[in-house]
Amino acid sequence: MSQPPSITLHVPEGTESDGQEPSPDNERALHTSFHQLILEQSSLIEAGLELELQERDRESPACLATPDACAGAWPEPGQGEEHPSYSSASLQILASMPSRTIGRNLGAIISQYCNRTARLRRRSSRPPLQQLCRAARPSLRQYDLETDPTRATLEDKRRLLVKELLSVSPSQCSHMLLTMPLSLAEKRILRRQLSRQRDPLRQRTHHRAPFSPCGWSKVYVILGCRGLWYRILSLLRTAQPWHYALKQIGGRFGSSVLSYFLFLKMLLMFNFFSFLILLAFVVVLQAVYPPASVSPQPFTGLELLTGGGYFTHSLLYYGYYRNVTLNDPCTSSPKGSMCPLAAPLFPYNLPLAYLFSIGVSFLVTCILLVYSVSRSFRESVRSSMGDLAIKVFCAWDFKVIQRRSVKLQCENICTQLKELLVEHRSRSRSRSCCQCLRHCIVILLAWVLALGCVSGCVLAVHYFSEHMHMVQQEQQAQGSGRWQQEAILLVLPLVVSLLNALMPRLFNLLAMWEKQDSPVTQVYVAIIRNLILKTMVLILLCSQWLSRSVTCSAEECWETCVGQDLYRFMVMDFIFTLLDMLFGELIWRLILEKKLKTKQRPEFDIARNVLELIYGQTLTWLGILFAPLLPAVQMVKLLLLFYIKKTSLMWNCQSPSKPWQASRMSTMFITLLCFPSFLGAAAFLSYTIWSVQPSETCGPFRGLETIYKSGKRWVLVLEKSNPNITWFAWVYQHLLENTWLLFFTSVALIAVIYFNIQVVRGRQRIILLLQEQIAKEGEDKIFLIEKLHCVYKQRDRCS
């Protein structure tokens, strides 16, 4: 433990016998950094103290100390009790205590940040326990006695702070400036001083020759570019899409409903990146060199719904893409044969580009997802202790500005506080055995029911798809019209979307019957059941597509068929979302208003809507291999959804009445997007690339055993063509294809995880120790204050 600097309180005898306060000069014993503070405060305190002792009123908000507030420090009950026995001298010292001056005195803040910067600069490794300081209050123990000048004025302190700021890195310097609780004018002064002191340095390092004209122009060019860049950044921030719309939604409905729209915006961004990569490397090139193939069917409106007809032989699907190397002399040679390697102008291997673009887009999405998950995880994983205090201080959403919503928020918070109080009371009261058992049975029953429903749905979808397949074959044998055939194809997606729309409502009813302990658990359970349903249905559909036992068994180009199926599922999902909004929100609101004559409006079910978004995105990721333009379709769908949902929300819905931990829920949604959804799609894609044989007659991988073999073939070709890069082929063969590498990577990953867990455990232990230390210091403080009063009391008595 560190030794506190020994400060001897100099108690002068005799000079203050007439009862006036000791002059600040005599209190050199207190650290000289608070000299200015005491100077500034002693004049105020002299005026303020008499009033404090006589009346209990506050003089003005600018008054820096309330000596009677320290009465609260004593274990006696009752706030603000006067202790007239405290001498004015001791009250003055208490008034100048660091904890009372936080955020109020400019000099104190500047000195304190000067210290922090100095410590930052000197810190080379993790600071020892004693120096850990997270509070903004100046503390005597951490003050460095050597570097501070005596009798520092405000100007000196500012100069010292600027000097310290210059010695740290620019990013740390700007971060420091950002976190300082100083006024804008003060920060501007500091910045000006910083730039004044920095610029001459930069000029000296950049230009050895003194002040040549090119040197000056270079400086101006750099400054001009930097100014332009800042202006662009500020423009970008204001030009963010939907800025006003999001403000409107947040203002009326709060952070919880806003989180749905922010999630939608994030999905749009993911799709945009995927689309951009595929567009640039695959779609555009294939569009420029179209295959001389089947003439397309005439365009009717039905294609938008079914994805067939005109779209079948278009850039939308896998079947359109060729397996040639563009601009290569052997384009005209029969497919599949090896070409003599003449030197082409600009060869572009389309199959390889197709494979790699999809791989890269998935990689980019993965990186973005993992980054988002980690960022939101960091914010939301906290302990559950102190939830009442958090509710009181952090529950009020400052974004809400409409009167009705504010009133609702007040009621909301009131209800939550009451619930928490009840919970606290019941936590002390334990439940009886019988009640526990009954509760367990109810929960078990509800789960059995839910899982039974899910399996029922899955079986239904399975038998129904087989039935539809038979019907379709019959229709084809009979030779019925195109419209009928296409309509039949739409039935399965319709049924699946219907189930996805109805079952969550059933699960909500089940959750209400179950009566969980807390409403948050209710939401979680509903989400999990919904998720299980959607996952099971998707797994069934994926297995059907890959095995080609039911759908697309008759097709030659099965990939295009699967792509079309996925397109239909997406379109049906969108249509059902619109219908759901129509019936669930608009018509329900009209019924509530006109028929039942209540003022209540339907609520926006955030969890269900977000899960629908995740489902749609999973369909896109599943289909990206079979329909490269599917991200574009998803983008259009999301754009339309944003505006339609926003309009419906504004017209029909009211703010949520249930408590909603916005950031924890956002973390959960983005984790659900990453783990079952993205990972599942990636697994499906990997399996398709690795093990499934592509069709013989269409697509960029025709004639190969698996899609993966094209990559392998390319490596072999590369090896033969250029003997200098055999190392690449060697790396590929012995490292990437070897399972030992995977094994070692897994072991290393597990070791890193274990190490991090141990570090976290150690930090938790340190937190406990520090909490004990804080409690002990509080006791020390009370003890010292008491002693101080005793000393001054004795001195007053003696004098």
Binding site: R58, P61, A65, T66, A69, G72, A73, Q79, G80, S99, R100, T101, I102, G103, R134, A136, R137, L178, T179, S183, L184, S255, E379, S380, V381, M385, G386, L388, A389, I390, V392, F393, C394, A395, W396, D397, F398, K399, V400, I401, V406, C410, E411, I413, C414, L417, K418, L421, H424, Q661, A662, S663, Q771, I774, A775, E777, G778, E779, K781, I782
Partner: protein, 151 residues
């Protein structure tokens, strides 16, 4: 807000202050129960009149970009009704009354205040200092998103 008082040209740094009444009638602040405290915490004289710099300060701290430590400092100032640098029981009671529009009974208020101090007070002085407040805020995942006004 006050086109006849505030000049368009600020290059000469005119010393113009807007009174609190004008500022708390802004649409972003009008319905906020803490509007007077917010404006008071950012005014230099503590009375509530803001100069242009104070105004910009206020909205920059309440914006998305402000770091957590800065927001915690000003949130502490806002909730400290008697400006003694501690959130004592009286401050908590006032906060609760403003939050719930006095819907809670006196007994419930006392209970909540006691529990809050019990949970957050670490050095045992019976009230929340800035260190206690900041420690509690650091455990709240929603603080950054709720202590935010969009303009």
């Amino acid at each position: 807000m006050a086109p006849n008082v505030v000049p368009m040209d600020y290059t000469k740094d005119p010393d113009v202050k807007l009174p609190m009444q004008l500022i708390i009638n802004m649409p972003e602040l009008k319905e906020n129960p803490f509007k007077e405290r917010i404006v008071e915490s950012f005014s230099e004289d503590g009375e509530g009149s803001l100069s242009f710099n104070d105004f910009v300060d206020m909205f920059s701290v309440l914006s998305e970009m402000a770091p957590r430590e800065l927001k915690a400092i000003y949130a502490f100032k806002i909730y400290d009704f008697n400006t003694d640098n501690f959130i004592c029981k009286a401050d908590l009671e006032k906060t609760l009354n403003k939050l719930t529009r006095e819907e809670l009974t006196a007994e419930e208020i006392t209970l909540v205040c006691e529990k809050v101090i019990e949970e957050a007070d670490m050095d045992g002085d019976g009230k929340l200092g800035f260190a206690d407040f900041e420690n509690m805020i650091s455990k709240a995942p929603d603080f950054l998103s709720t202590f935010h006004i969009r303009i």
